[in-house]
Symmetry: D2
Subunit: 282 residues, 4 copies
């Protein structure tokens, strides 16, 4: 049974030696270790994955590791056991490309975790969701009923015990209150190469500006729209021959791959957030 | 002897037939033809290159083509003869990577035209310029003396009969007056993926935002800083491991290739500008 | 109603003028035209798409165009009417990623044509096929029964009136007889950057060679295995950290996009084959 | 003063802890550490860079590290001091693009090491070499005089104390004898995406096969032509519009960047070779 730990905190000499020594001394075996030092901020980051000694108790080891890292190294640590299988809730609107892509990858074994349900403000993807054997929670709303709708969404998400919410082309802005209460990371896909073309209709904006390359960006949702920490981006070339509809079509392939990559990294505990940026131990 | 014509104007039926027929009837032979229809604006664009009939007078043919296109098709046309060799002036500051790259490509025969001289507000590249056998015009200035300096720059550019000015990492903003008077296209390289990170220190901006991809953009200079029509863009991946210095180094390779590509296209008469966008017949 | 024509034949002066003039004289309106001259072989290629005059008979116009191009220009021409909707048959084995990808794109309106059925030598994708509302034809075989199996496959394909067969990770070699009799193009996806790593287990070959980039290739199937005309290729970076399983996973995304692109181009009549190479009017 | 060590050997538990602990116990400070485990071969690889304790003797520390790694961990280790500046010899023929690119990068401070001279079988680049202030050694030869020529080349290389030889589009095959005697790594740039199109005229081969992407490959030269361990590759898209001359021009940009990247990695001690593959700690 293996443990993954993600640490970060002020740099000091000997962290690598201490971590590796602690694991080795307790009979553990390091499978992967990757670290990063932000020299500007003098912050140390590490992802370490190790097998617990034969007969060891992984949960107890993980807890003791967190205590050691805090008390002896001044590090904040997140740990996960390899057999944890976090519950994932998708939020969607009408577009189905990211929705199908994530569910098919999950069914093919490309993604860890367990997709537990789908929330939508539109009924369009109900049939497809149910054909995949998943619960579909339709929460339509108007501007005035948004607070109630968000409460219903949160209730569904909590009911599924979600460890991750994925906005798979969910076309509404989440309120600050929702983000404060959801109590798990929320990953969004924005259909532009951020920070270019934040906000509405990014492909139309890109077309008007006459850019020669378009992109997609997966990021953690924060109260500042499209301003959260960027996890993954990808781009593709376009030309004067491509109208807005072409950009939308080309963009769909980017969105699928970028969002699936970000979700996979998150479920494999590869992402640390610091100062509105991400460290991705890929 | 061949002619290149770049046409654009309101779409109407039969333009392709008319142009091809006109050339064919006069004994010409079409070498390349490429067209584009902007359906939103209903504007037709064409680049056509043809060999004039044996014994024909290319300059006269070119002139008659322009008249025909205007009178019979309502098109604005720019023509160039294949043996034209426009004079090019480079404007630089301290950084030499685009400067060396353009001159070496020109000497290797990769670029048409004739690099006729280098203008700089710093003396750093004098020796290298002169080693290439080119005149170097050093025009240092302060804020107050900028108008005089720009007059001196314009005099040099006019003296060389420049058909193109290339800002090869020239780190000053050109005044509206300069751009109005220079009387030839001015191509700039901006070291970001526009419209992200316009203005000063784009790599620092990119680092702070935590983007996962950086880029470079070649565009025509206009009075709106970094807002001119985009000609060419390219990008490369970065990660949390890359500090600002790394971004700068990775960016240099992008800048060289993007600027050289834009300059080559311009010298081969492949670019039409319309509504702050470019049509590039590559 | 519009017509697409794909022409090729020995170059001669005036082809563009003749084609454009013929269409214009009959009241047609050219929507797109793109041409290519292979200077080494002196062969001219063109794709032209036009609206027939109000009240015209597209089928008759198309037929007359083919005659004109043959008799007056010496060109071989393939024509298609815009409302044609060719029937497509997928051949699969066990892997479902290209299968799902093509069907979902088709259902989302990204692909022309009509997927008419799925043939497989394994039963694995039966349930998914039928959930999509498509007929699934399971034709298992051993080495000795391959001729009979291919006859059954051909009967199914003919019964669907297929205008295109897509090998969506079908893991068997088609016999020369099958390819001679199928009477429509067959597009295959090979999971390497051809000509590297033709044949079996290309990701294992790539891993052993230690390449830093892997790819996928869509090509027309011919009797020479993996030697047919290449339609589309794409690549992605890998490193020493990627084991064979990682290469397979990364490759799946390439395979989906490359195969879907090739199928889309074929269904939009954008591909001309000449001397085991393709001209793609994208 | 910092030290870089590159280790590899059979995996065993506790290597990371031992290495980090050894450095820490002697007052050193780890700057970077990166490791890789080849699970198929059970071989462990590590690159570690550390600052020696104030007042420490780097050369002695480096030597003791090698002994410790051998005796206590069974690892083979290569060490380098941060202020080492290996001498580099370029071998060229007629083409100058990689030659200029490497020398300009080196002069701009992008490459460590010291370019000490240029050997060529043609006189073409003599003037440019000398303008850069570098010695040019012209060693022309015929098939019969190749052994003597190689002896002269080796004498020049040894005379410069070369720690790296770079074949910057040197268009001759080096003999097995030369490679056995040169006693330092030799990096070559091959102008194709290996293993496709090994041998002569790869752009012609690529053109004939009709590939849609071309590439360049930097690899260590070994007696098996174009079969040595691959260090770096890059690719670019081409189409039916590109003739061989276009491929050659597009390829030059790839060759420059790929070769410069490989040379930079080698000079920064980032490359480990194992079983004809490379581990690159980028």
């Amino acid at each position: 049974m293996s443990i993954v730990a993600l640490l970060h905190g002020p740099d000091r000499p000997g962290i690598v030696a201490k971590v590796a020594g602690w694991i080795h001394d307790r009979g553990g075996n390091v499978l992967h270790a990757d670290q990063h030092l932000d020299r500007e901020e003098d912050v140390f980051f590490q992802r370490v994955e190790w097998d617990v000694a034969e007969g060891g108790a992984p949960e107890s080891e993980a807890g003791q590791f967190v205590s050691m890292a805090r008390d002896e190294l001044g590090m904040r640590t997140r740990v996960a056991l390899a057999d944890e299988c976090p519950s994932v809730v998708l939020m969607v609107s009408k577009a189905g490309h990211c929705f199908h892509d994530l569910i098919l990858r999950w069914k093919a074994g490309e993604l860890r975790g367990e997709i537990a349900g789908v929330v939508s403000n539109h009924p369009d993807l109900r049939e497809a969701t149910e054909a995949y054997g998943l619960p579909f929670h339709h929460v339509p709303f108007e501007k005035e009923t948004k607070p109630d709708a968000e409460a219903a969404q949160l209730a569904f998400i909590r009911g599924k015990g979600a460890g991750l919410v994925v906005l798979a082309r969910y076309m509404q802005v989440l309120s600050e209150k929702f983000l404060a209460e959801v109590d798990c990371p929320v990953i969004n896909i924005h259909h532009s190469f951020l920070p270019s073309f934040a906000g509405a209709k990014p492909y139309h904006q890109a077309y008007r500006r006459g850019v020669k390359i378009i992109g997609a960006t997966a990021h953690f949702a924060t109260p500042d729209l499209d301003e959260g920490p960027i996890i993954c981006q990808d781009v593709t070339r376009v030309s004067h021959r491509n109208d807005v509809e072409n950009l939308v079509a080309k963009g769909r392939d980017l969105e699928k791959i970028v969002l699936a990559t970000a979700v996979r990294w998150q479920l494999e505990n590869r992402i640390l957030v610091y100062k509105n940026k991400t460290v991705v131990f890929d």
